[in-house]
């Protein structure tokens, strides 16, 4: 490699041959951690993405760099993606439900109607 590169790093790095084979081993790039961002105290933590890290502590460091450098942030959670337990996507239909749920709702109880009717009947 000639030393006439415009990159100041290149000139002092003594780079190897571009045709040399460099291989990254499987697993060398660590685990995936999901990152949850809390915008202000008392707010929910919201999932914002993931980072790669060898352990949870370092995942926090990386998450801070990646997800807290611009938006306001007061806290972060990280959790190993593999530790998340979720339903299978195919099972989505088990969440299908009776849409008529007035009985669970304040609006489902019309007391004033009954009171007015009672008063009128007097």
């Amino acid at each position: 490699m000639s030393n006439d590169s415009l990159d100041p790093r290149v000139n002092r790095l003594k780079l190897g041959d571009a045709t040399a084979v460099i291989k990254v081993e499987e697993g060398e790039n660590w685990n995936i951690y999901e990152v949850f961002h809390q915008e202000k105290r008392g707010a929910h933590h919201e999932h914002v993405g993931c980072v790669h890290a060898p352990d949870p502590q370092l995942a926090l460091v990386f998450a801070k760099e990646q997800f807290a450098r611009r938006k306001k942030c007061v806290n972060l959670w990280v959790v190993r993606s593999a530790d998340i337990l979720a339903f299978d996507v195919e099972d989505e239909d088990m969440f299908a439900n009776n849409l008529e749920k007035n009985y669970r709702d304040a609006s489902g109880f019309k007391v004033m109607e009954k009171i007015n009717k009672f008063k009128q009947s007097k």
Partner: protein, 332 residues
């Protein structure tokens, strides 16, 4: 949310190709119906093999481009004119590396491991955006990259953010938000040179002349020889044709260059009032293919720097993985 148990595990390349011939017609029909309704496809969902393959290719190349794209600009951090410009450039380069991470994560949800993607970059099997195979010779080159290359990237990314694959769209939403800062600081530096001394204007004009062809190459070959099928448009993997995106870019940014009294090295460049599209001289497409296949001025250097980082950083990654050495680190 994606990752972990949701990640599709590609058993091996061979099996994938066999399976490719046998996308079940009912599943395919249901899938296409979901796309037509504008639904997002998520990692655990069934998807055609070709859809998965093309998305991996697309997202992976986008990720590599962000990482390699930081190199020509990173070169100028030490020489940025002024403290404010230096801070902005550091922030921008940090963003680009972050975008690479977000995109690698999105590609991983489709079943290709990060290690495999990095290996394919290092071996030259995967490509990255051609523009980064050219050197940033002067500070004006950095402003042209910051303004026009980022503008071109936004045209492309804003289109793809409306695509059909959920994790890619979410990554792109965040990327576009950050790119708008890149565009703005690039435009600001660009205007400063354009309205500065004659020497500054001359430096900028020179950079524009050199970068115009790579910028015209940016959106890829003309539609008339595009290999990518209508299927990809239907599946909302490819959101706009190369020529449409190029036209959209010219429409938005050529007037901004001309209003500063700068010129572009193409006498044929003008808006055709009849078609409402831009006429231009076709850039040299042989040069495009020559550069993408390794023949550009900086292809070798870019890969060498990336390989150097991989090799020299290995001991750090290994040490951090070793449980015997583990101890808690201060977060800040």
């Amino acid at each position: 949310m994606y990752g972990g148990g949701y990640i599709f595990d590609e058993p091996n390349g061979k099996q994938l190709r066999d399976e490719q011939l046998h996308d079940e017609p009912e599943k395919l029909a249901a899938f296409e119906e979901r796309i037509a309704k504008g639904e997002k496809i998520e990692p655990g969902d069934w998807m055609p093999t070709e859809y998965r393959r093309q998305l991996i290719r697309l997202i992976e190349q986008h990720a590599h481009s962000e990482i390699i794209g930081a190199l020509p600009e990173g070169t100028w951090i030490t020489r940025a004119p002024g403290f404010k410009r230096k801070l902005a450039l550091i922030a921008k380069v940090q963003d680009e590396i972050g975008h690479g991470q977000l995109l690698y994560n999105a590609a991983e949800t489709l079943g290709k491991s990060r290690e495999a993607m990095i290996n394919d970059l290092l071996s030259g099997k995967s490509k990255y955006s051609n523009v980064f195979n050219y050197p940033a010779e002067t500070w004006a080159d950095v402003t042209v990259i910051g303004f026009l290359i980022d503008a071109a990237a936004i045209v492309n990314q804003a289109a793809n953010a409306k695509g059909s694959y959920g994790p890619y769209c979410r990554a792109l939403d965040r990327i576009c938000y950050e790119e708008s800062f890149h565009l703005k600081q690039g435009h600001d530096a660009f205007i400063e040179l354009a309205t500065g001394t004659p020497a500054q204007r001359e430096m900028l004009q020179d950079a524009l002349n050199r970068w115009w062809q790579p910028i015209m190459h940016f959106f890829g070959p003309p539609d008339k020889n595009s290999q990518h099928s209508q299927k990809l448009m239907e599946w909302r993997v490819k959101m706009a044709s190369n020529d449409d995106m190029r036209n959209q870019f010219l429409n938005a940014y050529v007037p901004k260059i001309w209003e500063l009294g700068l010129t572009l090295p193409d006498a044929a460049l003008k808006k055709n009032p009849e078609t409402d599209r831009w006429d231009y001289t076709d850039p040299d497409w042989d040069e495009f293919f020559r550069v993408i296949n390794g023949g550009g001025p900086c292809n070798e250097e870019r890969l060498q720097v990336r390989k150097w980082a991989e090799e020299q950083g290995r001991w750090v990654r290994k040490a951090l993985m070793n449980p015997a050495e583990k101890r808690a680190l201060p977060v800040a």
